[in-house]
């Protein structure tokens, strides 16, 4: 029983990060109908920025700020500089451009920083609080959870109640009509990329300190997991991303704990196949459709 509680707690903290990353994928999907395969590579670039800024200034928070800013700048640059060239008629050209971007970013980081893992610090105690002898969440895990929830709420407010949010949704669903109605579609698409890149960077920045460390490939598995979460939750649904993140995080933790770590990638694949075959639009598609 203790073990189950422990595994659930671990899975919850990991799931929150996955949810944030999936949310970044959802944002671009809603904004531009593209799955950004370069999300992980872009996020690792801004994490390197954060690492360097923290190393220079000694402040975690300045590093965090730098990561968010550089994430936004990168999102802007990628949309204007690369993704604009994607053919609107072929969904594949966006995927292929993003793959090219992954290769460019990861190899450039490899040339600039080398392959070694760099340790990252967090400003909170990251040792778990014991509850009844069972190690539960650490203060850092709580920070991650709270951050994830706050970001979700802010974005939900933005999309549902602000004019900008409405414009973004309109531009994504019916770009031609929106343009006729005076929405500057091009600008809202760019904004979607910026927002998504910021959220993705935040997710990577929160995850990397709990893993081996910072390396050009640090987010490789995060992308596959985040994609799975987004698909499980439904690519259109921010709420789905949150619930999907928790589902996948806890499932991973239980598989590792009871079956072995080696089975995790297979379990993820199985979950992905199952959801795609049974509910291709995701578990939360119906609810999302109502809100949209």
């Amino acid at each position: 029983m203790d073990r189950l509680v422990f595994l659930l707690g671990t899975g919850l903290a990991r799931g929150a990060v996955l949810a944030l990353f999936a949310l970044a994928l959802v944002l671009i999907w809603r904004g531009a109908r593209v799955i950004n395969f370069a999300q992980g590579a872009m996020a690792v670039v801004s994490t390197y920025v954060a690492f360097e800024v923290t190393a220079l200034t000694g402040s975690y928070w300045l590093g965090l700020l730098a990561a968010l800013v550089s994430g936004g700048v990168l999102g802007f640059a990628v949309e204007r500089g690369v993704m604009r060239f994607a053919s609107p008629r072929s969904p594949l050209s966006g995927v292929i451009l993003a793959i090219g971007l992954v290769m460019v970013l990861q190899s450039a980081l490899g040339i600039a920083f080398g392959p070694d893992y760099r340790p990252m610090r967090v400003p909170f105690d990251d040792s778990a609080v014991l509850v009844g002898g069972v190690p539960l969440l650490s203060p850092y895990d709580l920070f991650v959870l709270v951050t994830a929830v706050v970001v979700m709420v802010v974005l939900a407010v933005l999309f549902r109640w602000t004019s900008l949010g409405l414009q973004m949704r309109a531009a994504a669903f019916a770009p031609e009509v929106s343009r006729l109605l005076g929405v500057r579609v091009s600008r809202t698409v760019t904004l979607g990329w910026v927002l998504s890149s910021v959220v993705g960077s935040l997710a990577a920045l929160l995850l990397v300190p709990t893993s081996l460390g910072l390396n050009p490939h640090a987010t490789d598995s995060l992308f596959v997991l985040g994609f799975t979460v987004a698909v499980v939750g439904g690519l259109d649904s921010p709420v789905g991303a949150l619930v999907g993140g928790v589902v996948v995080g806890v499932a991973m933790s239980l598989v590792t704990g009871y079956l072995g770590a080696g089975l995790v990638p297979i379990a993820v694949l199985g979950l992905l196949v199952l959801v795609l075959l049974l509910r291709p639009a995701g578990l939360f598609a119906a609810a999302a459709a109502r809100h949209a």
Binding site: I35, A86, P91, I96, I99, L101, L105, F227, L263
Partner: protein
């Protein structure tokens, strides 16, 4: 094929076969002019060509993008290796049976994946196939009694047959075998695409709803296209295993899978000649870059080695996709056109789509 009237772009079967035989002969003769390392590189190109030809037909003709073709190659490789090790006899017979087994296993896996793929649109399928190739090492270590984990499966050494040993070196023999298998794969795919099935694939790619309305079983066409592509990749993997005498999950990574996409895109999506050119670029460019960085100081060479090739591939991928979606194949054919007749993307890629009247 029996109809005398052919659709535009279709070739008579006899001409396809003749052309294939001609090219194969040229390639086989070419092996005599190459040193062992060049022949080894030729064998790699031929093995990659099996997979990229399958991938380019899948993407170009049916519009499905797979990021998991490396995993399908691995499936063919494991099928080949395990069968080869289990067979009681040796020689050419063992090679052929093992090769067919590799094709069969990759057909089964491709069919299963294709069943899922048929229900998915582009980006979803790309993500799913990515998850497949990511899970490959875990599959190998979970069933390690058969697949031997990260170590992979080693196969017995297949030397040059006795009759040819005096004239042909080992690497040349391997290159010849690889060329013949690649020729069979490419011919098969060309015939498949040139026939009625090819037209159905394109109809489904261009407008699935319209295709269904005109009585084409779109789902079945997509499953078959994925299966055929998977068999091609599996044969490529089997040939690689024949050349390398081993198959292991570390050889079929996400990076390699993306490299296959690079080959297909820079060659020109949908073009088999492009796939061949792309495979050659993918094999030769890292080697060329390695030559260039060899003279640099240790630290710089260590950082550039490998990374620089990936950087160049990424830039190529973006540039080609953004500015010249026809790739190398497009550049070659464009030169043959009159200048006042510009190549238009839609026209070019959809030249085989039947119009109302033709149908």
């Amino acid at each position: 094929m029996s109809r005398p009237q052919r659709l535009p772009g279709q070739r008579p079967l006899a001409r396809t076969l003749l052309l294939a035989a001609g090219w194969t002969l040229v390639a086989l003769l070419g092996t005599f002019a190459l040193d062992p390392f060049r022949n080894y590189q030729l064998a790699l190109v031929a093995a990659y060509l099996c997979a990229t030809a399958g991938l380019t037909v899948l993407v170009g003709a049916s519009g499905q993008l797979s990021l998991g073709h490396a995993a399908l190659m691995a499936v063919g490789g494991y099928g080949y290796a395990l069968t080869s090790n289990a067979l009681p006899f040796g020689g050419v017979a063992r090679f052929v049976v093992a090769l067919l087994a590799g094709a069969l296993v990759s057909a089964v896996v491709g069919l299963l994946l294709g069943l899922a793929a048929a229900r998915l649109s582009g980006p979803y399928l790309a993500g799913l196939t990515l998850a497949v190739v990511v899970a490959l090492p875990a599959v190998a270590s979970t069933w390690s009694t058969v697949l031997h984990g990260d170590q992979g499966v080693q196969t017995a050494f297949e030397g040059v047959p006795d009759a040819l040993r005096r004239v042909i070196a080992l690497e040349q023999w391997q290159a010849m075998v690889a060329v013949v298998v690649a020729a069979v794969v490419v011919t098969g795919l060309t015939v498949l695409r040139g026939g009625r099935f090819g037209l159905r694939m394109q109809a489904v790619r261009d407008d699935e709803v319209a295709a269904r309305l005109s009585g084409i079983p779109a789902g079945r066409v997509k499953v078959l296209a994925f299966t055929a592509s998977s068999v091609a990749a599996g044969l490529g993997g089997a040939v690689l295993c024949f050349v390398a005498q081993a198959v292991s999950p570390g050889a079929y990574t996400v990076g390699f899978s993306l490299l296959l996409v690079v080959a297909v895109v820079i060659g020109g999506l949908g073009s088999i000649l492009g796939a061949a050119l792309g495979s050659a670029v993918v094999v030769l460019l890292p080697w060329l870059i390695g030559r260039l960085t060899a003279g640099l100081p240790t630290d710089a060479a260590q950082r550039l080695d490998g990374n620089l090739a990936v950087l160049v591939f990424g830039l190529l991928l973006i540039t080609v996709m953004a500015l010249a979606p026809q790739g190398l194949h497009g550049a070659l054919t464009a030169r043959r056109r009159p200048i006042d007749e510009p190549v238009r993307t839609e026209e070019h890629t959809k030249v085989l789509v039947p119009t109302e009247e033709q149908r």
